[in-house]
C-alpha cells in the first residue's frame, strides 16, 4: 500500500427494531461517529455508504433517500450495494488515492421494515431456472449443510454448538437481537425451517446502522490515540448457478489468501487473535473457519468441539454473537469490522475477550451458499 489507512472511530445502532425512523437512525449514527472523533461535518472528506434497494423497505435508489442524513450533502460520495465491507474498502481506496484525508463508511439496514430476508433473497436467483424451484439463501444453505455433513462426517450437534456459543455470547452484547442460554437440544428442537436447518441456526432479520470513520495515517494520529490499521483485504466472487459450484470449496480460501498476503500473514491461526465472521447459518461458521485456515479441511466440527472458538478460547470467533444474534443484512459485514475494532481497542465491554487482540479478522458474505466473500485484516 502507498500509505496507511486507519479506522479512527466506530458507532452503531443495532437490535431487533426501533421506534426511531430510518432518517433519525442514519443521522444519529453518523453524528455519533463524527462527534467521537471531534470532526465537524464540514471537515469530513467523503462518504461511502452501503444500503440495498431490496433491503430498503420498498424504496429504490437507497442513496437518494438518506444522502443528507449521513452527512453527505454537497459532498463527493457514493454507494455500494450488497456487502458493506465493500464500503470500507472503497473508503480506504479514496484515502489511498490521495484525494481525501477522511472518509466515512456507513451501512444502513432497517430490517424491521423489510419483508422476510428470504422473500428478498429469492430475487438473487435468475427468474428462469433457479427461482421457480424455490432457491433462496436459506434453501441454498440447507443444500450446502447437507453436503458438508455428508462429505466430512460433521454432525448436526456440532453445527448446533455454533448457535449455542454465539447466542450465549450475545448475552454480553447489548446490541444483539437474539440471545439466550440454549442447549444443543434446544437448537435442534427449534422449528425446522429448511431441513436440516432449524430456526435458531438461521440468522434473524435485524436493524443495523453502522458507521466507521477512516483517515489517512497523519490525520488518524491527529484524531485518535487508538488508531486501528487497515492491514489487508481480499474478495472473491463465485459462479452464479449453485449447481455449477462445489459448495464446499468456494471462494473464501481465495479471498482470505489475498487478505493474508496483503497483511503479511502466513499462519492465520497463530497470527490472528480473533475473528468476527458472517455466519447467516450456524454450520457456515465451521466451514468458513476451515476456509480461513483456522483448521484443516473437514475439521470444523473438531474445532468447535475443542472449545478454541469460545469467547475464552485461543481463537475466539464471534464474541459479539455474530449474525445468529444480529443480522442487518447489508450492514452485517461492516458490523463485524466494528466488533473487531472494539476488540482491538479493548472497548468491547462485557464481550471483550480476555487476551490482548493485536490482529483481528472481519468477514462478510452475501449470496447463495457464500457466492461472494470479503475479508478484512485489522491491526493495532
Amino acid at each position: 500500500m502507498l500509505n496507511k489507512v486507519a479506522i479512527v472511530e466506530v458507532a452503531q445502532i443495532s437490535g431487533p427494531d426501533s421506534k426511531d425512523n430510518f432518517y433519525d437512525q442514519a443521522y444519529w449514527v453518523t453524528k455519533e461517529v463524527l462527534d467521537k472523533a471531534g470532526l465537524k461535518r464540514e471537515e469530513l472528506g467523503t462518504v461511502v455508504s452501503t444500503a440495498s434497494d431490496v433491503f430498503h423497505g420498498g424504496i429504490s435508489c437507497a442513496n437518494a433517500y438518506y444522502w443528507e442524513s449521513v452527512g453527505a450533502f454537497l459532498k463527493n460520495g457514493t454507494r455500494q450495494d450488497g456487502e458493506s465491507i465493500f464500503a470500507l474498502y472503497y473508503a480506504a481506496m479514496r484515502i489511498l488515492s490521495g484525494h481525501y484525508e477522511t472518509a466515512l463508511a456507513v451501512a444502513l439496514c432497517k430490517g424491521s421494515e423489510n419483508p422476510e430476508n428470504d422473500t428478498i433473497t429469492q430475487f438473487f436467483a435468475d427468474p428462469f431456472y433457479q427461482r421457480p424451484v424455490g432457491l433462496n439463501e436459506t434453501t441454498a444453505a440447507a443444500l450446502q449443510m447437507r453436503q458438508y455433513m455428508d462429505r466430512y462426517g460433521i454432525s448436526e450437534e456440532q453445527c448446533a454448538k455454533v448457535a449455542v456459543k454465539n447466542l450465549g455470547n450475545a448475552l454480553r452484547n447489548p446490541n444483539a437481537h437474539r440471545k439466550g442460554r440454549y442447549t444443543v437440544d434446544d437448537i435442534l428442537d427449534s422449528k425446522r425451517l429448511v431441513d436440516p436447518l432449524t430456526e435458531l441456526q438461521c440468522a434473524p432479520k435485524s436493524e443495523g446502522m453502522v458507521a466507521v470513520l477512516l483517515a489517512s495515517e497523519d490525520k488518524a494520529r491527529e484524531l485518535t490515540g487508538k488508531p486501528v490499521w487497515f492491514k489487508g483485504y481480499g474478495c472473491s466472487l463465485d459462479a452464479f448457478f449453485v449447481g455449477d459450484r462445489d459448495l464446499l470449496r468456494g471462494q473464501l480460501r481465495h479471498a482470505s489468501a489475498m487478505a493474508y498476503k496483503m497483511a503479511g500473514i502466513s499462519e492465520p491461526r497463530r497470527e490472528i487473535d480473533l475473528a468476527e465472521i458472517s455466519e447467516p447459518y450456524a454450520f457456515q461458521e465451521l466451514m468458513w473457519c476451515e476456509h480461513l485456515g483456522f483448521c484443516g479441511e473437514g475439521e470444523g466440527g473438531k474445532l468447535i468441539d475443542s472449545m478454541a472458538t469460545q469467547i475464552d478460547g485461543d481463537m475466539p470467533v464471534n464474541p459479539s454473537g455474530g449474525l445468529l444474534a444480529n443480522n442487518p443484512y447489508v450492514s452485517r459485514g461492516l458490523q463485524r469490522v466494528l466488533e473487531a475494532v472494539l476488540q482491538i481497542r479493548g472497548q468491547a465491554g462485557e464481550r471483550q475477550v480476555d487476551k490482548k487482540v493485536n490482529t483481528a479478522l472481519a468477514h462478510g458474505t452475501h449470496g447463495f451458499a457464500g457466492q461472494c466473500h470479503a475479508v478484512v485484516i485489522l491491526g493495532s
Binding site: 444522502w67 453527505a72 454537497l74 454507494r79 450495494d81 438473487f124 481480499g234
Partner: protein
Amino acid sequence: MGRAVAIIGVGQSKHGKRMDVCYPDLVREAVVAVFEDSGLTPDDIDGVVSGTMPSMMEGVAMTHFYFAEAMQAVGKPILKTETCGSTGVSTAQTAYYWVSSGMADVVLAVGHEKMNEGDSQATMTTVMEPFYQKYFLSGAPGVFSMQSQGWSVRFNIPEEKVREAAAVISVNHHDSAFDNPYAHVKVRLTVDDVKNAKVITYPIRLYDVCPNSDGACAVIFASEEMAKKLCKKPAWVKGVGYRGEEQFFGDSDKAVWPSAVGAAKEAYEQAGITNPRKELDVAEVYNPFTYQEMLFYECFGFCDFGEAPDLVLKGVFSRDGELPCDPSGGVLCTNPIGATGLIRVAEAAMQVTDKAGARQIPGAKMALAHAMGGIDQFNGVLILGSEL
C-alpha cells in the same frame, strides 16, 4: 494525488430493444467487446466493478451475482456501485479510485440495464420518499419538467425560445445517432416534428425524452505503468468530480444546480481547466431531456446562466460548433440507465483517442463525461484527455 489512471479499452453492446438476447448475454456482448478492443484477457483483470439501477427495474436483485460469468468476474474481487442515474459515472469513478489507490493495476467497469424487461417509470416512482413526495412526483418527466420550468422562469427566457432551442437539440442528436452504430433510436426529425410531438409532461414532448433501452457498456481502467505497456493510445483520467444533494425536491435550487456546478468544478480543478468552453473539445452530457441539457451547459460553465438557448440556436454546441455536445446522439437516443453514464465515459474516451468513427470530433484532445441521478440529486463528471 495518487497514481495516474487511464482508460485502455471500451466495449458496448448494440443498444435498443434487445429481445434477441437474455440479460446476461447482453452484458457478455459488451464485455467481449472490451476484451477485443483492448487485446487483454480476463486473466489481466485485477478487479471488477458492476453498476446498475435498482432491482425493481428488471426484477433481479444484486445482479453482480447473476453476471459473475458474463463479466468474467469469477474468482475476482468485485465492487457493486449504485447511485441511481449517475451509476455509470460512479462505476467509472470506483474503477478510477481502485487503480489510483494502488490496490489494483487493471480494473474492469461494467454497466448494464435491460429496461424492456420491466417498467422504468414505475421503478422511478419508488425512488421518491414514500410519505410526502411519491404522490406528486411520479416518474422522471414530472421532476425534470418542473426543473426546466423553474430555470426558464428564473432567467426570463421566453418560452418560445426555449422550445425552439430544445427542438434544435433534439434534431441534432437524432441526426448524430445515425453516425453511432450502437445507438438505439434512429429517426430523422425536423424542428417542427419535435415541436408538434405529443406532450409527455408539459412542456416536454415525445422527442424531448430519452427512450427505454437495453444495453451494456464495459470500460477497462489501468495504472500509468500498465497503460503504457498495454495500450498504444490510452485516454487519461484528468479529473473526477461528484456531488449529491438532499432528497426532498424543492428544498434546494435546481436552476443554479449546486451538485452539477460542484461536480464540474471539482473535476475542472483537478484537470486544470479554467475556461471549459475553450479547453474542452467535446462533451458527453447526460441529457435524458432536451431542456435539462441546456441547464447543464450553464452549470458546467460552458456559458452564462440563461444564455444556453441563444448559443444552441447559434450552433455553439452543434457537431461543427465551438464545443460539440453529445456527438454520439447522447442519452436522448440511447438510455440503458445503469450503463448510460459509463457509455458517456466510453464515448469521451473514444473521442480523445480518435476512435469514434463517423461521430469523431476531429482533433479532440480533452473531453467531459457526465451523469445525473436521483430526484435531481446527483451529478458526476469525468474529464478525459489524450495526454498524461
